[in-house]
């Protein structure tokens, strides 16, 4: 290692280093910085003014549409995270009780749908939930209802259900991993000291798996809040989310600086979520403060 690299080596190294730093900086960092700066420009009609101003941010906070939509979207995504955990936790707990190959095969099967076409799943869920969809027709056929139910058709409820089904595997994995990390002898110790199954679960397993639950919630929340296609597809007119508003600024509204400002705000929400997740989730937390 102490020998001086020969000339060809040095050139080779130089090119590699240039690529290693240059490309990510050029195609990731620079666009993100540019996008921050863009949010400080302003638009008049169709003309873009390259002057720094906070007018976009002021508009976000003063206009009566945007803050409520953001709040509504955050609540929606928290609900998605909640639903995903409500279903994901029992599944992860069930998996962690299985043995050997069966456990990992089942885990794989639960994760595979993540890689299956997102648009198609969304479409299939829409066709199940729709006014004339599988669910309504089945309920009518079974005589449970006589009019199609509408509370999950083209509204925020539909968005909630669809996102939950799409993102559920993201909740199962971190919870499963945190359950797997709990040493078996802690459960033995709990039973040995007289704890019933329920006591062992609520006093030992549940608190020790909380970091995984928080990681799961963070994952699902971040993925849900960034999704602008699902709300568009299943949300109809009333299922308006923050992502859709951002997207519309780059399409129909054609106000890129304002869209950028809204995205910066979205990014801020995401960063807060990730920081909260990192603070309370992960491996170390919960062991001691």
């Amino acid at each position: 290692m102490t020998a001086k690299p020969i000339e060809a080596d040095r050139i080779w190294r130089g090119i590699a280093l240039l690529a290693a730093y240059g490309l990510p900086i050029f195609f990731i960092l620079l666009p993100l910085c540019g996008f921050l700066v863009y949010s400080l420009f302003w638009v008049e009609g169709t003309e873009l003014h390259y002057e720094l101003t906070l007018v976009n941010y002021r508009r976000f906070f003063t206009d009566e549409i945007y803050v409520p939509v953001l709040r509504q979207t955050v609540v929606l995504c928290l609900e998605v995270a909640g639903l995903c955990i409500a279903f994901g936790y029992p599944v992860a707990y069930f998996l962690s009780g299985l043995k050997g190959r069966k456990k990992y095969t089942l885990l794989m099967l639960l994760l595979v749908p993540l890689l299956m076409s997102y648009i198609i799943k969304m479409y299939a869920i829409r066709s199940i939930l729709g006014g004339n969809g599988f669910l309504n027709r089945s309920l009518i056929a079974l005589g449970i209802i006589d009019q199609p139910l509408t509370f999950f058709v083209f509204n925020l409820n539909a968005v909630l259900l669809t996102l939950s089904v799409l993102l559920l595997p993201f909740a199962i994995l971190p919870i499963f991993l945190s359950l797997e990390r709990i040493p078996k002898n802690l459960l033995e110790a709990s039973a040995d000291l007289g704890g019933s199954n329920a006591q062992s679960f609520f006093r030992v397993i549940l608190p020790l798996s909380l970091p995984g639950v928080i990681s799961a919630a963070t994952f699902v929340f971040v993925l849900a809040i960034g999704d602008f296609l699902t709300p568009q597809m299943v949300g109809g007119q009333s299922g308006f989310t923050f992502g859709r508003i951002i997207y519309s600024q780059f399409g129909t509204a054609f106000n890129w600086p304002f869209g950028s400002a809204l995205s910066v705000i979205l990014a801020a929400v995401v960063i807060v979520a990730i920081l909260v997740g990192a603070r309370f989730g992960g491996e170390k937390a919960g062991v001691h403060r």
């Binding site: 060809a8 080779w12 990510p24 299939a124 559920l168 995401v270």
Partner: protein, 266 residues
């Protein structure tokens, strides 16, 4: 620890429900693809492959499939090369610049795709790069890079330094060390990461929709068609895509999951 039978029953019922929720939306189009669909309702009386025959004549879809493969393969190639170079560099020491580089690489993975997509959209406009297949490829590369980088880095850390030092000690140059020592050891990680990256690229919609010009990848094509309602041949396409994805997942699992993990006993 033994769980009570009641708890086990409830847990398995929830698990079953979740399986139905996850796989229902996947199986419905597959099953439907083997039957004739007329006026929005399915004729269950007879199985046939009409939908598959019709698909071969759908030029828009076929072109989208071609584009998807071009984008996917290019993004995989670019991200593998770049990911390997960055991983080699970051594994060779500790420094502030390396930490920053790693952070930058992870940004598109942490941030919602809409932010990655929009920042690239603005960037391409400001540096006057017309939106084309190239911009889609750049978008996908940026998106999958973190995953590829991470996979390679983990493998490199597993290899350790002594093997690299031994190679230098025996008089090999850096490229020789890379091609004779590192590459053979990285092979399975590269294959696994490549397949996973392809699968991600294959399904990427949100960045693509922002950085595409007039070209359609398959998800974009499906997106556009879905708003009007699907023709029956799309069910056939879905079945084919899902079969393909399953194969890719199996390949990726074969290369990325250590054997003792898959066969591990509690």
């Amino acid at each position: 620890m033994k769980r009570s039978p009641l708890a086990t029953l409830l847990l398995s019922l929830v698990t079953l429900l979740v399986f139905i929720l996850l796989y229902g939306p996947i199986f419905i189009p597959i099953v439907t693809s083997f039957f004739t669909v007329k006026y929005g309702s399915v004729d269950w009386s007879q199985m046939n492959l009409d939908a598959y025959a019709k698909l071969t004549g759908n030029e828009g879809v076929i072109e989208a499939v071609e584009n998807t493969f071009i984008v996917g393969l290019s993004a995989v190639a670019a991200s593998l090369v770049l990911g390997t170079v960055i991983a080699l560099h970051c594994n060779s020491g500790k420094s502030r610049s390396r930490a920053l580089l790693q952070f930058v690489v992870f940004l598109p993975f942490l941030m919602p795709p809409i932010i990655t997509g929009l920042s690239l959209l603005i960037f391409f406009r400001e540096v006057s790069i017309d939106r084309s297949m190239l911009t889609i490829i750049i978008g996908h590369t940026v998106f999958v890079l973190a995953l590829v980088y991470r996979t390679i880095l983990v493998r490199l850390q597993g290899i350790g330094f002594s093997m690299i030092e031994a190679s230098y000690d025996l008089g090999a140059s850096a490229p020789q060390t890379f091609f004779y020592v590192l590459l053979p050891n990285l092979k399975s990680a590269l294959i696994g990461a490549g397949v996973l990256a392809f699968a991600l690229s294959f399904d990427e919609t949100m960045i693509t929709i922002l950085v595409t010009g007039t070209q359609n990848t398959l998800p974009l094509r499906l997106w556009a068609m879905m708003r009007l309602g699907f023709t029956p041949d799309i069910n056939a396409l879905v079945a084919i895509i899902l079969a393909l994805t399953t194969v890719m997942v199996l390949i990726a699992a074969r290369y990325l999951i250590p054997k003792d993990f898959a066969g591990a006993d509690a």
